[in-house]
Symmetry: C2
Subunit: 399 residues, 2 copies
């Protein structure tokens, strides 16, 4: 195991910088942390000596000799990234520089409860380590993303609406029976925000990731780190009211954005439009399948169906109303929209943008950039592994 | 001048801790930053040797010998705290531990423009330094709070609605002609939040200060520091929509909380109630004075006038709707309500609380505490001086 506590402040600064920036030459690394060349070289030599960083090869140069790129050493150990979805399960092994060494995905039903799901996770993890020839002692840290609210310090789920039976289950204890590495659990949208933060090389200090699926949630990056709030519930934007006269939400209040623009609301509006005769295409689909999904609506919208487009615009408008309030308060530089409903097509993004820009203050939106989350393979497990590495390093330094 | 750059990381940590915690004994200080006794004693001796900290006397002890309390040294120099209100002007000198050495307040009209206002500020500052026998070179830093949006990095006001003519005026340059010390400018509610943060000894990491006056603004303390957002406009909550069917705001949108619950809206509702015959007391006042103010309404409400109480409850309900959205997103531990309208009486706070708790998620409000900003003498200038000292130290360490 790596003894993070034995690192000096300078060594830790270099190591963290290298993790966030990806491959850097010695000169770039020294410059990026504002160290003198001699101070940086001393710390780099020490980190290489401890097996924490290594040369990863060379990069194309505009002329002159090619500088060698440094990276976090693959010899240090592996990270485990686990991503639990409502209907899926991903387990991956990653190198400390987030190279994916092994990634297995399969369908799963979280409603079966945590015991069978994590029994399967443990089987898959054992198999992955065997495939890669990695001993369990070489796991540095384990990160787990789950589709529900988490008390981050304890790693326990709190009143998870999609995960009945998970509240009293300790993911940390379950994995701790088999691995000495620390285990960190967070909700899926915080993990998505952290993965996005890492893919963007840590360049953005204050931004939001919105996930629109069965519910609507938000991951908050503030001052360059995940912001979880006083009780760990920061980003719970699904129950922000966008219309006091709106429909009743399952939370008991009226006009929550989740009740008006998340997947189930969109499907309901699609079915209502079909039954009202507003869209022969949707009516046909409804007759054939007995129900409509956000995917059906997205297909109709992309095919130019007017009723479908009106529904997408209405949902985007409501999400935009919620975001306008958040933008006035938080003034982020970027908002990234993700989750299943984001696949509904470009009209959703256009409607969200229009609504935010109309309702937010000019100063807050002067440089605001709203776009879809970049689609990347293994995004979920990378986010979980970033969580694992970052928290393992931090925890090692704190103790 | 203090050369902040020559401090070691350990010395800076101790100095900042001592600033936030107020008087601490050597043992308490060492413990609070998790230093060994010998490491702490070495750094303390060095800081005393440099004239940055000193013994401030003794505290009552439960028994045994009385430990001496350390504080930031009064010999280090003075901080200048300036607080510009819409109709007032405060200039103060403070010791590095925020002891007020001199405080002068007088009425002022910011609409007269920045040149006469800051001409007067310079006169008052010169007089204060003379009264205290302090040479201008001994000013460590100058903090200025202004009632309008500020681009913090440049210290310039941005589209200030209450301050026409101030946009192209550099407060920094104006004071820089006479003082070598760095000048920091921020909006009044950020300064209020920072002052509250200091008075609470830096114990709360994530909280909000709401100012309800002519407008409605919010200071955000996040991860223990003031959060200003990507463009410096974080906390601009006055234009969050609380009712899509609400009245038109001067910003062009409908139903902004500022248009429904700030001072002018409250005065308007009071006048309407008087004219409609709902309150003989308010009608009488209106006939005598030609107009009604939030203070008049507050007096009527405290005297039990039913129409006045209904208006206070309505305004509090709208502020609470806005805060419910912010609470769901930000999950603060505390919200402090300040500003002129906060003086309207306890019913306002009760109405805000009721509305927030009804509309926010249970997890976000489990430990949420909503109260009025503690009334403290010299709060504005202390906030400005905290800004000055904190930023001077940080800037000294950054360079």
């Amino acid at each position: 195991m790596v003894d993070w506590q034995r690192l000096s402040v300078g060594e830790r600064t270099l190591l963290e910088r290298l993790f966030w920036a990806g491959g850097l030459s010695r000169g770039e690394l020294a410059q990026s942390v504002d160290f003198s060349k001699s101070k940086a070289n001393l710390a780099i030599a020490s980190l290489i000596g401890r097996g924490l960083i290594e040369d990863s090869g060379t990069q194309p140069s505009s002329g002159g000799r090619r500088p060698e790129l440094l990276r976090l050493s693959h010899g240090m150990g592996v990270l485990v990234g686990i991503d639990i979805g409502a209907t899926s399960l991903d387990v991956a092994l990653l190198a400390p520089d987030m190279t994916v060494l092994d990634h297995h995905a399969e369908p799963a039903d979280v409603r079966a409860g945590p015991v069978p799901v994590f029994g399967r996770v443990r089987d898959l993890l054992r198999a992955a380590l065997a495939r890669c020839g990695v001993a369990p002692e070489r796991v540095l840290g384990i990160g787990v993303g789950v589709p529900g609210p988490v008390a981050f310090d304890s790693g326990m789920l709190v009143n998870p609406p999609l995960l009945p039976g998970w509240e009293s289950f300790s993911i940390r204890d379950c994995l701790g029976e088999e691995y000495r590495a620390p285990v960190f659990v967070d909700n899926d949208v915080n993990v998505m925000a952290l993965g996005t933060h890492w893919r963007l090389r840590g360049r953005l200090q204050n931004f939001l990731v919105i996930k629109i699926g069965t519910g609507i949630g938000c991951g908050v990056i503030c001052h360059g780190t995940v912001y979880r709030g006083a009780d760990g519930s920061a980003g719970d934007v699904g129950h922000i009211c966008v219309d006091p006269q709106g429909p009743l939400c399952h939370c008991g209040n009226a006009g929550c954005v989740e009740a008006m623009a998340a997947g189930p609301a969109i499907a309901r509006m699609a079915e209502a439009a079909a039954l009202a005769g507003d869209s022969p295409r949707l009516k046909d689909l409804l007759d054939r399948n007995g129900s409509l999904s956000p995917v059906d609506l997205g297909n109709a919208s992309r095919a130019g169906d007017a009723a479908a487009n009106a529904i997408v615009q209405q949902a985007g408008g409501q999400v935009g109303r919620m975001l306008a309030a958040v933008v006035n308060f938080f003034n982020p530089s970027h908002i990234f929209i993700g989750g299943g409903v984001a696949n509904i097509g470009p009209l959703l993004l256009a409607s969200i943008r229009q609504s935010v820009y109309r309702r937010s203050l000019a100063l807050s939106t002067r440089h605001l950039d709203i776009q879809y989350v970049p689609q990347v393979d293994s995004a979920g497990v990378i986010g979980s592994a970033v969580l694992a590495l970052q928290e393992t390093m931090l925890a090692g330094g704190r103790a």
